[in-house]
C-alpha cells in the first residue's frame, strides 16, 4: 500500500468513526437549510423578486463546505503536531505531497457528499429549489473553495495549539463571515456598502460562484469571478501557510 493510500484510508476511518464531526459536517448545516427553508418557504426576497431558497441553498452549502474544510484540517494539523504524529511522519520517507494529497482528497470527498446531500434536500418539495442548467459549474467553484479554505485551516491549525483555540479562531472567522457573505441572509438584503465590503471575504466569492451556477443568480461571468477570487485567496493563504507551519510545538 502506498503512503498516500494508507493516509487516506486512516483519515477516512477517523472521519466516519467520529460521530460528532459527522454531525457538524453533514447534519448541522442541514439544520440551517431546513429551518431557513421552512420559515421562508414559498417566499421571495423583496429586493430581487427571487425565492429565498435560491439564496439559502447555495449559501448554506458554501458555508457548510467551507466550514468543514477549515475545521477538519485545522483540528487534524493541531492534533498531529500536539501528539507528535507530525514528527513520526517527518521520520518516515513519505514525501509531503503524499500527506497533503491524502488530506486534500479527503476534504474534496467530504465536500462532494455535502454538496449532493444539501442540494438533494433543497430540491425536496417543501423547499423547492430549482436547479439551473449551469449547475455543473458549481463543482469547480466548490473545489476551488475547498482549496482556499483548506489553506485557511492550515494557518489556523499552525497557530492554535489546543482544540479550544482551533474552535475559537475558526468560529470567530467563519460565523461572521457566513452572515456577511450572504450564506444565511440573502446578499441583496444587505446594505450596499456591506455588499462592497464583503468582497474582502473568501466566502463571498464561493457564495457568488455557487449561487450563479446553481440558482442562476448571476451568469457564467460571476462563476468565473468567484473562482478567480478563490484562487487569489488560495495563493495568499498558501503563502501564509508556508510561513506559519511548524513541525513541532517544542522549540
Amino acid at each position: 500500500m502506498t503512503a498516500y493510500a494508507a493516509l487516506t484510508g486512516a483519515g477516512y476511518r477517523a472521519q466516519v468513526r467520529d460521530k460528532a464531526t459527522l454531525f457538524f459536517t453533514f447534519a448541522f448545516p442541514l439544520i440551517f437549510l431546513v429551518v431557513f427553508g421552512l420559515i421562508f418557504s414559498g417566499q421571495d426576497v423583496q429586493e430581487s423578486g427571487r425565492p429565498y431558497i435560491s439564496y439559502i441553498a447555495p449559501g448554506v452549502m458554501s458555508w457548510g463546505v467551507a466550514n468543514a474544510a477549515v475545521f477538519s484540517v485545522a483540528f487534524t494539523l493541531m492534533q498531529w503536531r500536539r501528539d507528535d504524529l507530525l514528527r513520526l511522519i517527518r521520520m518516515t520517507p513519505t514525501r509531503l505531497p503524499a500527506v497533503i494529497g491524502s488530506r486534500y482528497v479527503l476534504a474534496l470527498g467530504v465536500g462532494v457528499v455535502q454538496a449532493v446531500l444539501f442540494t438533494g434536500v433543497a430540491l425536496l418539495p417543501p423547499f423547492g429549489l430549482e436547479l439551473k442548467g449551469s449547475w455543473p459549474l458549481a463543482l469547480p467553484a466548490l473545489v476551488l473553495g475547498i482549496t482556499a479554505f483548506l489553506t485557511i485551516g492550515v494557518v489556523i491549525g499552525s497557530l492554535a495549539d489546543t482544540p479550544e483555540a482551533v474552535a475559537a479562531i475558526a468560529n470567530c472567522l467563519m460565523v461572521p463571515m457566513a452572515f456577511l457573505s450572504g450564506s444565511f441572509l440573502p446578499m441583496d438584503m444587505l446594505p450596499s456598502w456591506l455588499q462592497t465590503a464583503s468582497r474582502v471575504l473568501p466566502l463571498r466569492y464561493l457564495n457568488d460562484a455557487v449561487s450563479a451556477a446553481l440558482s442562476g443568480r448571476g451568469g457564467t461571468g460571476d462563476v468565473l469571478l468567484g473562482c478567480a477570487g478563490l484562487v487569489v485567496f488560495t495563493v495568499v493563504f498558501g503563502a501564509v501557510c508556508l510561513k506559519t507551519f511548524r513541525w513541532s510545538n517544542r522549540v
Partner: protein, 336 residues
C-alpha cells in the same frame, strides 16, 4: 526494508563499523548551550545508552542524531550519511520511538501500525510482526485511544520497529511499564540487539542501562562527563563496596579496627561497612563473627552517575549501593 532484512540474524558481537559518528556538536538556544561540544561514536550492533539529568542535553543530542534538528556546529554522520537536512534515503534505515500519543486517531492498534508501515513502504505483514514483537497481538483490534499506558508505550515502540530499521532510537521505553512488562521489554530489546541492530537509548533507569547497554554516555551540562561500558565505569569510579552486618553483631568501633574498612556506621538496623577491598574484609568478618546474614552491596552505575551529576550540581552525592531507585528514594537504607 531490504537492508534491515539482510542483517545477520544472530550477530551477537559489536562490530567495529561506526553507525553514528558525532564530532564536536554544539547547539545553543538563546543564551543556553544545550549541547556544548559533544563527540562520540556508536558502533554497529551496539546498545548505546545516553544518560543524564533532565536538561543535560540528551534530547537535543538525540534529535540532532535523528535528523530532527540541525546542530549549530560540528558534524554528524549516521549510517554513513548526514541526517540533516531530512534525508529520505536514510529514514527507512532508522526507527524512532515517539511520544506514546503519536497515533493516528480512531484507529485500532493494527490499523495504526499498518499506516505507519505504509509510510515506510514496508511490506503488508510488517504491522502484524511488530505487534507480535512487543506482545500486543491480542490487542490488535483495540482502538489506540482505549489502550492502557503500558500498551500505548509498547505500540509507540512497535511504530519504531515496524520497518525493521538497522538503527533504533528509544526514549525512556520502559517508563510507563510495570516490572513484569519492563522485563518482557528488555527481552524484546535484547532480541533486537541479537538481530544485529544498533540501539541508542535514553533513560533514567540506571539499573536498566547497566543491564542492557554495551556502553553508556553520561551527559552533564551538555557535555559528555563519562563514556564507557557500565562495568568499566563502575570499576573506574572507585565507589566503595558495602558490607551489611546485622546490627549488634559487631560494634562500629571494632569494625573500624579491621584493616581495609574505610567507614562503619549503623544504618537502618544494619552495621554498614564501606571498603575497597571487600574480599579481605569479608575474611576478617568471617573470622570475627561469621558470615551468616551478611550482605554485600557492590557499587553500581548509579553510584558513578550520582557522583558525576551530583558533582556538577555542587553536591557530592553519596553512593548508596545497588538498591537505590532512580527517583532518589532509597528503599532499603535510610540516609543520615
Amino acid at each position: 526494508m531490504t537492508e534491515a532484512r539482510a542483517l545477520q540474524p544472530e550477530t551477537h558481537r559489536t562490530g567495529t563499523e561506526t553507525t553514528i559518528s558525532v564530532e564536536q556538536i554544539r547547539k545553543r538556544y538563546g543564551g543556553h548551550e544545550a549541547v556544548a561540544g559533544v563527540s562520540l561514536e556508536v558502533r554497529r550492533g551496539e546498545f548505546f545508552g545516553v544518560l543524564g539529568p533532565n536538561g543535560a542535553g540528551k534530547t537535543t543530542l538525540v534529535e540532532i542524531m535523528e535528523g530532527l534538528r540541525e546542530a549549530d556546529s560540528g558534524t554528524v554522520t549516521v549510517l554513513g550519511r548526514s541526517p540533516w537536512p531530512r534525508n529520505v534515503a536514510l529514514l527507512p534505515r532508522i526507527g524512532v520511538q515517539t511520544q506514546s500519543s503519536a497515533f493516528f486517531v480512531r484507529q485500532t492498534a493494527r490499523e495504526h501500525l499498518s499506516t505507519v508501515a505504509a509510510l515506510f513502504g514496508a511490506p503488508k505483514d510488517a504491522a502484524g510482526r511488530a505487534l507480535e514483537a512487543v506482545g500486543l497481538t491480542g490487542k490488535r483490534d483495540v482502538m489506540v485511544e482505549n489502550l492502557s499506558g503500558g500498551q500505548r508505550q509498547r505500540l509507540a515502540i512497535a511504530s519504531a520497529l515496524v520497518h525493521e530499521p538497522e538503527l533504533i532510537f528509544l526514549d525512556e521505553p520502559t517508563a510507563a511499564l510495570d516490572p513484569q512488562a519492563r522485563r518482557d521489554l528488555w527481552e524484546v530489546l535484547r532480541g533486537l540487539k541479537r538481530q544485529g541492530r544498533t540501539i541508542v537509548y535514553t533513560t533514567h533507569h540506571l539499573d536498566e542501562a547497566e543491564a542492557l547497554c554495551d556502553r553508556v554516555a553520561i551527559l552533564v551540562d551538555g557535555a559528555v562527563a563519562a563514556l564507557d561500558s557500565p562495568h568499566s565505569l563502575v570499576a573506574a569510579g572507585g565507589a566503595p563496596t558495602r558490607l551489611l552486618l546485622p546490627a549488634g553483631r559487631l560494634s562500629p568501633e571494632a569494625a573500624l579496627e579491621i584493616e581495609g574498612v574505610d567507614r562503619a556506621e549503623v544504618r537502618g538496623g544494619s552495621l554498614v561497612l564501606e571498603t575497597r577491598v571487600s574480599g579481605q574484609v569479608l575474611t576478617a568478618v568471617d573470622r570475627l563473627v561469621g558470615l551468616t546474614g551478611v550482605q554485600t552491596r557492590t557499587a553500581t552505575l548509579e553510584d558513578v552517575y550520582l557522583e558525576l551529576t551530583g558533582a556538577a550540581a555542587g553536591t557530592t552525592a553519596e553512593g548508596t549501593g545497588g538498591t537505590r531507585t532512580t527517583d532518589g528514594t532509597d528503599d532499603t537504607e535510610q540516609q543520615s
